[in-house]
């Protein structure tokens, strides 16, 4: 594989992981607040640089499957809780949500000035996806004997996707809060499901293409449940009115 092919391969493969990383950071930041989320992301990045710098090409010795299982399981549990919350709120209050929900969700309890939930979610997302990008760079770069070209490809993908995230994150403030919780719950549940099964060394049909399929599957469930719950609520209100 020549340098150009190495760059293209590592760029595209890293872009997939970078999309997952940026999506989690932006989703969590939009709901829990940016300060703690970005500090968590930065901390994950620092650990990543220390681990990557310390291990170098021996990075592949890290038991990535164990990390995927642990991080994936935690993301899935948290994601399902937000998904359930988002479905209930959108069903009860429509797309706008209300001020009570905003108060209940924004930030939450803090210790030492940090929202630790936001910190941990962002930290895990950056660390796991960053390690996967590092694995891609080391694997393809070493095989083609163009490790620095591979690093350039992986780094370029990360910078590009992070830049897009910075540009577009402001648009999230226009999205109703109840919808944001639902969407982030869908994303965390999707990634959590995908990673935890991968962490058990079980392959998904279609590999990474299973991610959008899982997202479509959970989205269909959410839409169906919102419809059912709204009909039930409408019936209850009609009975109370008579």
């Amino acid at each position: 594989m020549n340098g150009g092919a190495t760059f293209a391969t590592t760029f595209l493969a890293s872009a997939v992981e970078a999309i997952e990383m940026v999506t989690i950071v932006i989703g969590v930041g939009a709901i829990r607040g940016w300060r703690s989320t970005l500090i968590g992301a930065a901390a994950g990045f620092v650990v990543l640089v220390l681990v990557g710098g310390g291990l170098g090409t021996a990075l592949t010795a890290i038991p990535i499957d164990v990390l995927r299982l642990v991080v994936g399981t935690l993301l899935l549990i948290f994601g399902l809780q937000w998904l359930r919350k988002g479905i209930s709120r959108v069903a009860a209050k429509g797309l706008a949500g209300d001020e009570e929900d905003i108060e209940a969700d924004s930030g939450g309890e803090t210790r030492f000035g940090l929202d630790w939930t936001a910190f941990v979610l962002a930290f895990k997302g950056v660390l796991l996806e960053g390690l996967e990008i590092a694995f891609i760079v080391v694997t393809f770069g070493s095989a083609s004997k163009h490790i620095w070209v591979g690093a350039l490809g992986g780094g370029s993908a990360l910078v590009l996707l992070a830049g897009l995230g910075v540009v577009f994150h402001g648009h999230l403030s226009r999205i109703p809060r109840s919808v944001l919780i639902l969407v982030v719950g869908l994303l965390l549940s999707t990634f959590g499901t995908f990673w935890s099964v991968e962490g058990l060394s079980i392959g998904w049909p279609g590999g990474d293409l299973a991610i959008p399929v899982l997202l479509g599957y959970y989205s269909s469930l959410a839409a169906a449940l919102v419809l059912v719950l709204r009909r039930e609520l409408a019936g209850l209100r009609a009975r109370e009115a008579t």
């Binding site: 935690l74 359930r84 479905i87 549940s189 392959g203 299973a210």
Partner: protein, 73 residues
Amino acid sequence: MRRLLGWLEAFGIFWYDFVIGDDWTIAAGVAIALGATYGLSRAGFPAWWLLPVSAVALVVSSIVRARRQQRGR
């Protein structure tokens, strides 16, 4: 020592809230589903589908339970 114990308590409370939240059955259900997925895979059957199906069942049952509790009030 007291500060260390306080920090440990806060650490434990954080992880309890993070994992258990307001419905412990979701965390328990995910753990069971993952165990079953692993077992099914080791038995030689395709197992990737079990966790997404279980996740749907957990969300539905959690919502149903929450609505029953609300009606009971």
